[in-house]
Subunit: 349 residues, 2 copies
């Protein structure tokens, strides 16, 4: 005999009256929009089957969010976590100049997971999937004896000549970044300080936006796809581990150096004031802070006309020139006329 | 200051002298065979990019092995776990009549994971990938504050008219199963009994083979692909959750009933003697035991000629007729002339 409350707290435990793996899959399936006809076999068979975009290449990525490593349930709702689990993968596809198409969702759920929590994950994941043109094609659900894990695989498509890799940059290319940097790491730092008191910061402090960007990063799907389609960019990477790390990675992969100008960096105002009030160097903190999910890309000077077209269609996403790739080795930060080495990137573990 | 031993026990902890995420990715990359030219962008960028088989559909599946749920490190070596993590996914692709092509490997590693253990996972995974024609195209590595998790996504391809779903069966179709059943669950049951004393059973007891099948299931890649290519089968599913479950699923999805004849079942002799010596009903135990990763499929009577061609090319994998799909509802087991309801399948949690 189990009470309804108990059922809800053991969604996977069929013996305890939970709905079990198949019940949960059916519950998820019912919440999804009607799949497109390109999905030949969807959720419920051994594997999903889908039509491939004609003349396109497949683009594949997988990224997991692990409780206690990538998120803290005190700071993020299940919907925040569901959104972010998809967003970080969309960001990787966008950074290749590709368009996301199909997602597989692999959930590892602790015994205490309730149906409400699973619904919450989907409340965050499904709207972003719909908005990004992504079909949830399948996945896997299993019990976890430890943390909640949400592991997403995303499959996209890209035309052969439109792929953006990290290694396509050349000396003299200008370096650009989308959006603003430092927000997500300032938001997370603030949440950690406030752990005991989860009141949200005042909207006008700029910090509320930082917290929002930590919880619900907006992948630059449209800009990534435009950069590939117009061939405005030569190399591209997302900022999952921070801008300093991305600049270093792109320069290394391209066999170049890089020079970033501190005064040009589009620092998030809320992050600037947060770091300043904590006595930290806002430039360094914003450069090495992770989780921004903006795009860093390189543009050869003569392609700036194409980039203007991209900027016009970017629907308000700022695109800022922050420096250039150089012939010499070394990645440097130029500040007030002096140069210093680039700080290290964000390390997840 | 860290000792070499300490480094080995904290492969991901860069602060403690471990090699960190990137070092580990590089270590894995170096162990892989040269990728085919169809892999346009491989490990090390934001996403992998690959050429799609012309005229084919994509087939996508993901399945995770979680420590404490799907494996026990007392009973399986890291190489066993790496093999099985890929094998269970290959089995899903084979069950669609498809051919596996690309894998993504998502690892969640406890802080105590050593480089040797990661090498061990690859010692099991890479040979099966090579043998199955699978290219490891990318993945993700992260820390786990709990269990070791190995989550594999597998992408395959299939020609449009060769897809095998669970729902393609019709009343009157004959039901076939590959290989033998009951071995993996007998092997696991035996290992659990012996937990304190890990001596292997004598080779001639049949149990050694059961233990081997629990640890290293052999997915029926070739038979699955042949069944799709020749269109000998109409419906197909793998036995991850046991034969009883698979028969029930195929019958439900196809809108039919099913009748299985106990005397026809290809029970593994080691499993039969193990279950008999424990006073269990070997037929029921073998039907409901999971982890066999054989294929169940349906064949319309007039396609039996095509099935003979498949059997001739199956390289010794037995294919046994065990019953048929029926018009009436209900899935029954016929034994010594009497019928009984089909036992429930294996429940992972």
């Amino acid at each position: 005999m189990t009470t309804p409350d108990k059922n809800q707290n053991a969604v996977l435990a069929t013996e305890a009256g939970g709905i079990g793996e198949r019940g949960l899959i059916e519950r998820i399936r019912r919440r999804l929009p009607m799949p497109p006809s390109s999905l030949v076999v969807g959720i419920g068979d051994d594997a999903a089957v889908a039509v491939v975009d004609r003349g396109a290449l497949q683009v594949l990525t997988t990224d997991a969010l692990v409780e206690g490593v990538h998120f803290d349930r005190r700071f993020s709702t299940p919907a925040d976590i569901g959104h972010k689990a998809l967003a970080v993968n969309v960001s990787d596809i966008a950074a290749m100049g590709a368009t996301p198409r199909l997602a597989l969702l692999s959930l590892m759920l602790p015994d205490t997971t309730s149906a409400d929590e699973v619904d919450g994950l989907l409340d965050g994941l499904i709207p972003l999937a719909v908005q990004s043109g992504i079909t949830l094609a399948g996945g896997n659900i299993t019990r976890s004896p430890g943390p909640l894990v949400i592991d997403v695989t995303l499959v996209g498509s890209v035309r052969p000549r439109r792929i953006l890799t990290r290694s396509g940059g050349r000396p003299g290319d200008l370096l650009y970044v989308t959006g603003q940097i430092g927000a997500a790491s300032a938001g997370l730092a603030w949440l950690r300080e406030q752990a005991a008191d989860p009141t949200l910061p005042a909207e006008d402090s700029g910090l509320a936006d930082c917290v929002r960007r930590h919880r619900r990063p907006e992948p630059r799907t449209r800009v990534g796809s435009l950069l590939g389609r117009t061939r405005a960019a030569r190399a591209c990477m997302d900022l999952s581990d921070g801008l300093a790390d991305a600049v270093t990675q792109v320069a290394e992969a391209s066999g170049t150096g890089a020079r970033i100008v501190a005064e040009k960096l589009p620092l998030h105002p809320g992050a600037v004031s947060f770091f300043a009030s904590r006595g930290a160097d806002g430039v360094l903190a914003s450069l090495s802070g992770g989780d921004d999910y903006e795009l860093l890309f390189t543009v050869q000077p003569k392609a700036r006309g194409r980039l203007r077209l991209v900027a016009q269609q970017a629907r308000g996403v700022p695109i800022t020139c922050i420096g250039e790739l150089t012939a010499g080795p070394g990645v440097v930060l130029e500040r007030a006329g002096a140069t210093e080495p680039m700080p290290a990137g964000f390390v997840h573990f």
